[in-house]
């Protein structure tokens, strides 16, 4: 999966997920997702399933740590690095 495509789909997913709770929020590739607390623990798990579906690859358990979810860029690196 191309990095830019991955990034776009991640940003769109986060916008759609946070909309009911936060309304229309600006999400950029460098938005500090954890500091802003845009996602709760269940949404993070949902995001992992979404990433696995769209990228067609499994994300190893040991990758599920905070530093890999700090920004959309970090999340995109998570699935593009695994190629």
């Amino acid at each position: 999966m191309k990095r830019q495509d991955a990034l776009n789909s991640i940003v769109d997913w986060i916008k759609a997920q946070s909309k009911p709770k936060f309304g229309d929020v600006e999400v950029s590739p460098e938005t500090r997702l954890l500091e802003l607390q845009l996602l709760d623990s269940l949404q993070i798990m949902d995001l992992v399933f979404f990433l696995e579906e769209t990228s067609g690859q499994k994300i190893a358990l040991e990758k599920l740590i905070g530093e890999n979810f700090e920004t959309p860029n970090a999340i995109a690196a998570l699935i593009c690095r695994a190629d």
């Binding site: 709770k21 229309d24 709760d40 269940l42 599920l64 740590i65 979810f69």
Partner: protein, 505 residues
């Protein structure tokens, strides 16, 4: 000086170098903890705090925060842990309800707190100007009936409930759990739940009564299964007490086996047998147990999960037999006990039952069985089977537990109705998959009308209620259906949007 059993046991251990409170950034040995407690106690003493004064904790969970909590407890000050993630309006309502003498805060949060409250602040990380006093002085005599902790909960009228637990209440739970599970100073505890949850009484207070060590996870660490699992492995944790949702996260994908874990305890939500099986595989040497009790009573029943339970893949784990400290009854609406195998309200009498709701005597009185001051009508429904094992059915009022957080649907509806376009609101819980429960709101806005600002309702809720109460879906209605007597036909409203419903707490 008279001390409660809780205070006596908290102060009993030797001031040695054994780790007492740990996190990824700070470790306090037993000796350092007692010194820190002494320091906090003398600072608060100098501020003129009296026994029974309340100290609100506007702090994230760190070893220093827990040291302050323990310093308050041993000095007869009442601890009120707050959820610093709550919206400002909610924090203000909670502070009004519990009227603390001080709000403890870290210097980095001082500005944020000052914007929402003008109560006196106690900045925990300022350097004190006087030398530290040793040993830890206890300034007040403390009895079992003295209040120790206030835990904030939701109330239907929009006014938060301040659940007051006494020293005796907490000690009765701690004493039971130590005996029932055979816990000792050699156990290593993991604290996942935040301090404003009753589960933390096990992690941070019971562990310190034992003189054991507890590892405190930061909130952000609890979001990521790999971080929790890494800690379980590295710290060789032996005891975990968490909501089923948290275990679901840990077992959602193949992971390490945890041979050191001896106790995997569940509470706060219905526990599916399928999840207990997964946890049993992850922790092959652990005793699994399902604990039950609302914050008002703490744990009053417990089911030790057996191999036979795990052979049956479907259904939920029962909530077990009453603990030896309390009596549990199934009662009718008048509070009269019912026969076995008959469904009714779960009612409790015993020493763990709360002292009451702070500054709300009528509300406290309504929650009791007639004539029994140490009783509580839980509002939960269940039944005893032939073997005396308690089974949980659910609630028949408007309160639901979402991810361990009690939400009153009536309160959600009340906030939504404040929107100028909304004439009436109905909230329901929607389930999808095994562990996602969210709120759906139905709004009556009249024919040929639209919500002028669709994001305003979620925004209003987000400002006043916990984040789990914010709806993930909103449906607008011209008119809500009514029944022949003119009352709102809730069932019809909910059924119209119901497609598949797998579980129904």
């Amino acid at each position: 000086m008279m001390r409660s059993k809780l205070v006596t046991s908290l102060l009993a251990g030797p001031p040695d170098e054994k780790a007492a409170l740990c996190s990824d950034t700070e470790t306090l040995s037993r000796k350092a903890l007692l010194e820190k407690m002494a320091l906090f106690a003398s600072r608060m003493q100098r501020l003129g705090l009296k026994k029974g004064d309340r100290v609100a904790l506007y702090l994230s969970k760190t070893p220093t925060t827990v040291a302050l909590q323990l310093a308050c407890l041993v000095n007869g000050l009442v601890v009120v842990p707050l959820d610093i993630r709550l919206p400002a309006l909610r924090i203000q309502a909670q502070l009004r309800q519990c009227s603390p003498a001080l709000v403890a805060v870290a210097s980095e949060q001082l500005e944020a707190l000052s914007a929402i409250s003008d109560l006196p602040k106690f900045v925990v990380d300022t350097t004190p100007e006087t030398p530290k006093p040793m040993p830890l002085a206890v300034y007040h005599s403390i009895q079992e009936n003295d209040p120790a902790v206030i835990l904030m909960s939701s109330g239907s009228s929009g006014r938060p409930k301040a659940i007051t637990l006494s020293h005796g209440n907490i000690f009765a739970f701690v004493d039971w759990a130590i005996r029932f599970f055979g816990l000792s100073a050699d156990d290593r505890f993991l604290s996942i739940a935040p301090l404003h949850f009753d589960l933390s009484l096990f992690d941070v207070i019971l562990s310190q009564v034992l003189g054991a060590s507890v590892y405190l996870l930061r909130e952000q660490q609890t979001l990521f299964p790999a971080e929790i699992l890494k800690c379980l492995q590295q710290e060789q944790i032996t005891a975990v007490y968490a909501v089923p949702t948290q275990y679901q996260m840990l077992t959602a994908r193949p992971g390490p086996v945890l041979p050191a874990l001896r106790h995997a305890l569940f509470a706060g939500e219905v526990l599916p047998r399928s999840l207990a099986q997964l946890v049993g595989r992850m922790a092959p040497n652990a005793m699994l147990a399902n604990l039950y009790g609302p914050t008002e009573t703490n744990v009053v029943s417990c089911h030790r999960i057996s191999a036979a339970d795990l052979d049956e893949p479907n259904g939920d784990v029962p909530i077990g037999r009453p603990c030896d400290h309390s009596a549990v009854y199934i009662c009718d609406s008048a509070g009269e006990p019912l026969a076995p195998e008959v469904e009714g309200e779960i009612c409790v009498v015993g020493p763990t039952v709360m002292q009451g709701y702070h500054a709300a005597p009528e509300m406290t009185e309504r929650a009791r069985l007639p004539g029994a001051a140490d009783s509580y009508r839980t509002g939960d429904f269940g039944w005893f089977d032939k073997d005396g094992v308690l089974h949980f059915i659910g609630r028949r009022d408007q309160r639901v537990k979402l991810r361990g957080v009690l939400v009153d649907l009536g309160e959600v509806e009340m906030v939504a109705s404040q929107h100028p376009d909304v004439s009436q609101a109905v909230a329901e819980v929607q389930f999808s998959g095994t562990f996602r429960a969210t709120i759906k709101l139905h709004l009556q806005i009249g024919p040929d009308r639209q919500l002028s600002d669709p994001t305003l309702v979620p925004h209003m809720i987000r400002q006043q209620l916990p984040a789990v109460a914010v709806p993930s879906e909103i449906e607008t209605w011209d008119f809500f259906p009514t029944m022949s007597n003119g009352k709102l036909d809730r069932q019809h409203i909910l059924a119209s949007s119901r497609k598949t419903r797998e579980t129904g707490e």
